[in-house]
Symmetry: C2
């Protein structure tokens, strides 16, 4: 793996023992990318720029690793949701939002009404709200009541994460490492992916299984790994901005360390989370119920898709 031009000297984690690959991939990867290109243009979420084509490529091929055995419709739906989230963050979050938070809050309010399911039944004129209405209807048709409520809860957490991040960008040194790490799963959308795949792969944990220490530890380790590896991968791209919020940035600020030192620290942290995830996957795959085994396999593929995606050129400086 390569953290981008000019950052070759920074250490990156070694997953050859925990997630050695080759990673499974769906035969429908290219088809999913083509679907996304068509969908993004139709909705339309963003202009068909190189950035948009790159987003469709990484999302299509990433989801093909998240759901290697799923049918084309499930891949398309999952890819569209994560394309929607990333496009919203790119177009309306981060630095755009930091300059005009009230504008972002107006949009988030409109999306909240769609998530809360008490919006007027006519289709919204705002493209992100209209696209979300369509996506949620497609998920709802496949989900139990609890699965659907869990997904819409996670999406609300993502919107709160985007708004929170926009407000902290003016003063990123005010964010502690502990707070950053707690919020990171919501800004990287990984728990939303847990909720989506549970619907798309048609399994459901009992409340007892979901709150068991092994399942919680697997979810926490996978969520941490997803956010931290993304931060290492996007550091080169983001460090050209004056005030990016990332684990390297908050660690450097809190402890006064160099980029070389924090990359080493975070690489070790990522390897530790990968080890925790791998050992829980082994435990749950052998001892769990059928839904718990399905969950362990689903989270393996989610971890692999996050490990894969930082090598994509979207993450090269």
């Amino acid at each position: 793996m390569n953290a981008g031009a000019g950052f070759n000297a920074l250490s990156m984690p070694d997953f050859t023992r925990t997630f050695p690959g080759p990673f499974h991939i769906s035969p429908h990867a290219d088809r999913t990318e083509q679907y996304l290109l068509q969908w993004v243009g139709q909705v339309p979420l963003m202009p068909l720029s190189d950035e948009c084509r790159s987003l469709c490529a990484i999302t299509g091929h990433g989801v093909a690793r998240t759901l290697p055995s799923a049918d084309p419709d499930s891949l398309a739906l999952c890819a569209a949701l994560f394309c929607w989230l990333t496009a919203f963050d790119d177009m309306h979050g981060e630095t755009v939002a930091a300059r005009a938070p009230a504008v972002l809050m107006g949009l988030v309010a409109e999306l909240t009404l769609v998530l809360a399911d008490d919006a007027p039944s006519e289709v919204s004129a705002e493209p992100f709200a209209a696209a979300l209405q369509d996506l949620l209807a497609r998920f709802r048709a496949r989900a139990t009541a609890a699965q659907y409520l869990r997904l819409t809860g996670r999406l609300r957490d993502n919107l709160t994460g985007i708004v929170w991040e926009a407000h902290q960008l003016a003063n990123p040194t005010g964010v502690s490492v502990a707070t950053y790490c707690a919020m990171r799963p919501h800004t990287v959308f990984v728990r939303t992916l847990f909720a989506a795949v549970e619907i798309l792969l048609q399994y459901q944990l009992t409340d007892e299984e979901r709150s068991s220490p092994s399942v919680r530890k697997l979810e926490t380790a996978t969520a941490n790994l997803a956010g931290w590896i993304n931060d290492l991968g996007s550091y080169a791209r983001e460090s050209v901005r004056s005030a990016a919020l990332s684990l390297p940035a908050v660690l450097m600020n809190e402890h006064g360390h160099s980029p070389e030192k924090v990359f080493g620290q975070i690489s070790r942290l990522c390897e530790q989370q990968a080890e925790i995830a791998r050992s829980r996957i082994a435990e749950l795959s052998s001892a769990g119920s059928a839904p718990v085994r399905a969950h362990a396999i689903a989270l393996t593929h989610i971890a692999e898709s996050f490990l894969w995606h930082i090598s994509h050129h979207r993450y090269q400086a």
Copy 2:
């Protein structure tokens, strides 16, 4: 009813035909108020000021009208949740937040982690986060998975509503009547009350019942009535502030009408919503399943508690 000193000339709605009273009230109203006074001080959410005593009185006696037949524990839990929401809004939302939105977002992020159920298991040091952990554990012990997810979804909507309102206060004339009315149920917490009573009274609608036109119309009418009657009741108190967001304010701004004219308009709108609610209550009480009948009665009491509470001295100028 009396909209407060100096506003006696403004018309108020007439509910003598739709909600004639006397409203049912629990025999545990005073006990619930006493519980709240003790709880708010223990947690502690706010100093034991006259404002705090007034909040405990109106919440205790309001919840005694919302749940006239419930046991003291259910009353206490419901009252504590709505005291928590109102105290958070009073202490950290509205004008306080409008001056420092990043501080509010830091708190909302912490509460989101509690709602998202991936906060560290130790009790938070922040009083509102610690109190929310305790309240959610008590609700969770009584709820099905879907009921609990619905409640935590509504609470997320309330936090988004508080943040949205804080961001619009700098430019309240930018908020349309349509947007204001769509967001109002979330800033008045009424749909959270729907979710809470469904847990406390131990009934559950099927997905089909919940999405039926009659149930949705009853919920929408009750939600509108709650927000709009609250706006009429608090206008006198709020109009001393420079930039309050309320239905009278947004209507005056959008149409250039006088306070007398918009109070007349809103009074008619409230009476219309009360009529819709009353006719749906009659329909569902005679034709619905046992849970649908329970829901119709629960919403009757919720509407009555909102109609009652604007006569409380908290709402007098």
